[in-house]
């Protein structure tokens, strides 16, 4: 093969630029899917409106009735946007957990962070109900947040110990899931009938709990976290080459991990705190992103965020379409769709590099 230096040395550059363009197109395509899904989500619901009416209401046209406007803007809009933001947050959290723990099965759901949040919330729902009725939403959320952060820190510090392998971390996550599920069962056993109903419904995960203030808080968390990750994009990508390599490049590996884990726990906990347990988005989103754009964080993170948001939004559409007029709790749908995916993932990890 002719190996002309001049040609060979520009070929790489050219091919790299083409690949970068392709990745940007993939991001654009994901964004388009997301927007279409949100519009479909707004159009669906127990009250049936035509797409035309929905679009008019969205544009603030005076031609649609007050009632349609209220339904679209005050009832459906927070839910539809919450799906987007929660999907984005969970997927970003999963993506970075997989990165820093070097683990294809890491996600807030599989490593027990969601279970911890559920337990925290149930404690508030069962024992805190009478005390602060005026701020119950936030007591529940705050409890969930604290437990999720504790679980994330526990996973983090255990993963820092010598001799801890990828498998150990997954097993550790499983023990956390079991522990918090047992504690949750205990709280449920002690709960009054009314509180029990609240807990059970809460653990199912449902976007119908979305309100504008909750949406604003979740959006703020996502809006603060993502730029922090993007600023560290090169360093985070370097972790994929192994700790020694990254450290020898001047990356402060320990600090980067701790910092990232703190942001992850916030990203994972806030959605769970507001809308309950929604599994598998944090696992599926990053895997789809990795297949589409690879592991360069400059593209991997946005792709994870967009695919997570699109999946949850599409799931929201599905949850309204199964039985017209009924909205299924979205956590049930994501779990049902996610399990076969997780299964295929486990079975294929031996062949592919996740």
């Amino acid at each position: 093969m002719a190996h002309s230096p001049a040609i060979a040395m520009t070929k790489g550059r050219g091919a790299y630029r083409v690949l970068v363009q392709r990745k940007k197109l993939v991001l654009l395509a994901l964004a388009v899917v997301l927007v279409l899904s949100v519009i479909a989500d707004l159009g669906l619901g127990p009250a049936r409106y035509s797409m035309h009416e929905v679009v008019l209401a969205l544009m603030g046209s005076p031609d649609v009735s007050e009632q349609i406007s209220v339904v679209i803007w005050d009832i459906r809009m927070p839910v539809a946007l919450m799906a987007v933001v929660v999907g984005a947050a969970l997927s970003a959290a999963g993506a970075q957990m997989q990165t820093i723990l070097n683990n294809p099965l890491a996600s807030p759901f599989t490593l027990g962070i969601s279970a911890a949040a559920s337990f925290g919330a149930s404690v508030a729902l069962v024992f805190g109900v009478g005390f602060l009725p005026w701020a119950i939403d936030y007591v529940v959320s705050l409890n969930a947040l604290i437990m999720a952060m504790l679980a994330a820190l526990f996973i983090h510090f255990m993963s820092q110990r010598r001799g801890v392998t990828v498998e150990t971390i997954v097993l550790l996550g499983i023990t956390l899931v079991f522990t918090f599920n047992a504690l949750l069962a205990l709280v449920q056993y002690l709960a009054s009938e009314q509180a029990l109903t609240a807990v059970v419904f809460w653990t199912m995960g449902s976007l119908t709990r979305a309100t504008w203030p909750k949406l604003a808080i979740t959006t703020a968390v996502v809006a603060v976290s993502l730029p922090l990750f993007m600023r560290r994009a090169w360093a985070l990508t370097a972790l994929r080459l192994g700790d020694d390599k990254a450290a020898s490049f001047g990356v402060n590996v320990r600090w980067l991990r701790l910092e990232t884990m703190m942001i992850i726990s916030l990203l994972a906990a806030v959605p769970v705190a507001f809308v309950g347990t929604i599994g598998f988005i944090g696992l599926v989103g990053p895997h789809i992103a990795r297949m589409l754009v690879g592991e360069d964080q400059r593209y991997f993170l946005p792709a994870s965020v967009l695919s997570g948001a699109a999946i949850l939004s599409l799931t929201s559409v599905i949850s309204k379409s199964i039985v017209p007029g009924t909205i299924f709790p979205i956590g049930i749908i994501t779990a049902l769709v996610g399990v076969p995916f997780l299964f295929s993932l486990i079975m294929s990890t031996r062949r592919r590099a996740w």
Binding site: K11, A15, L19, T237, D244, F249, E295, A353
Partner: protein, 256 residues
């Protein structure tokens, strides 16, 4: 200014156990290649990681006459273990090595440098393969590309040729040799093949059982006595028809 590296009484400690102690070198200068040899588990990798700033321990590591410059950006370390589990491509991995601690935006100069390094190691044909698809030898070459692209002044290479075929070994060591001269890089490399050491190194440091046994010019250190004491083999150093010294092994040392 020519880069320099000097170790004074450098050691490595894991918990309370000293795995390496008392490594002292003369001033190693840019343009020179220093080979680190010694049996398996002698402490060579620990020494490299200590110099790279990945391990703590006693002693003084002076880079360019400033104390403890181990984290200085122009010290680059290639670990022995090059196994990775990532779908990053060769090109991406080399580019990201260059971008650490640098401005975030990728410049034309960055891409040119990546292309140049890939070409010099002749791995440009696999530039867009995933790291997880590579053979051990290919991974080693990519790993080397990742350190070279950072334009190091002090280059620490822990067994950079252990997975390469003979042709690639000779080629890569010749490249390292010429880069050291041309760019005045101070190269420290661990390597097992003593004949390769005789070909490329200016100086040899011998590490055995956690201590430095000797450090000096290649032909003064690699002797039949060294073969006996450190490697427990019977051997000779003889000059070939081109007058290059070669290690000839006669067999394992008979234990009395």
């Amino acid at each position: 200014m020519v880069a320099t590296l000097q170790l004074t009484d450098v050691g490595v400690r894991y918990g309370k156990q000293d795995v390496l102690a008392g490594v002292t070198t003369p001033v190693l200068k840019g343009g020179e290649v220093t080979a680190v040899i010694g049996p398996n588990a002698a402490g060579k990798s620990s020494l490299f990681r200590r110099i790279a700033g990945l391990l703590d321990g006693p002693g003084d590591i002076r880079v360019d006459n400033g104390t403890s410059g181990a984290q200085a950006s122009h010290v680059c370390y290639m670990p022995q273990d090059t196994s990775v589990n990532t779908v990053l491509t060769v090109y991406e991995s080399v580019l990201l090595a260059r971008k650490q601690g640098a401005p975030r935006k990728v410049s034309d100069e960055d891409l040119q440098e990546v292309d140049r390094v890939l070409f010099s190691l002749r791995i440009d044909p696999i530039a867009f393969k995933g790291l997880n698809e590579l053979s051990g030898g290919q991974r080693q070459l990519v790993s080397l590309a990742q350190v070279l692209v950072r334009e190091p002044k002090i280059l620490l290479l822990d067994e950079p040729t252990s997975a390469l075929d003979l042709h690639r070994q000779v080629e890569v060591l010749a490249l390292i040799r010429s880069l050291a001269r041309e760019r005045e890089i101070c190269v420290v490399l661990a390597i097992h093949d003593l004949n390769q050491v005789l070909r490329v190194a200016d100086r040899v440091m011998v590490i055995d059982a956690g201590t430095m046994v000797s450090c000096g010019p290649v032909e003064a250190v690699i002797t039949p006595t060294l073969l006996q004491n450190i490697y427990r083999v019977d051997g000779r150093i003889e000059r070939c028809s081109r007058l290059c010294p070669h290690v000839i092994i006669d067999g394992p040392l008979e234990l009395a």
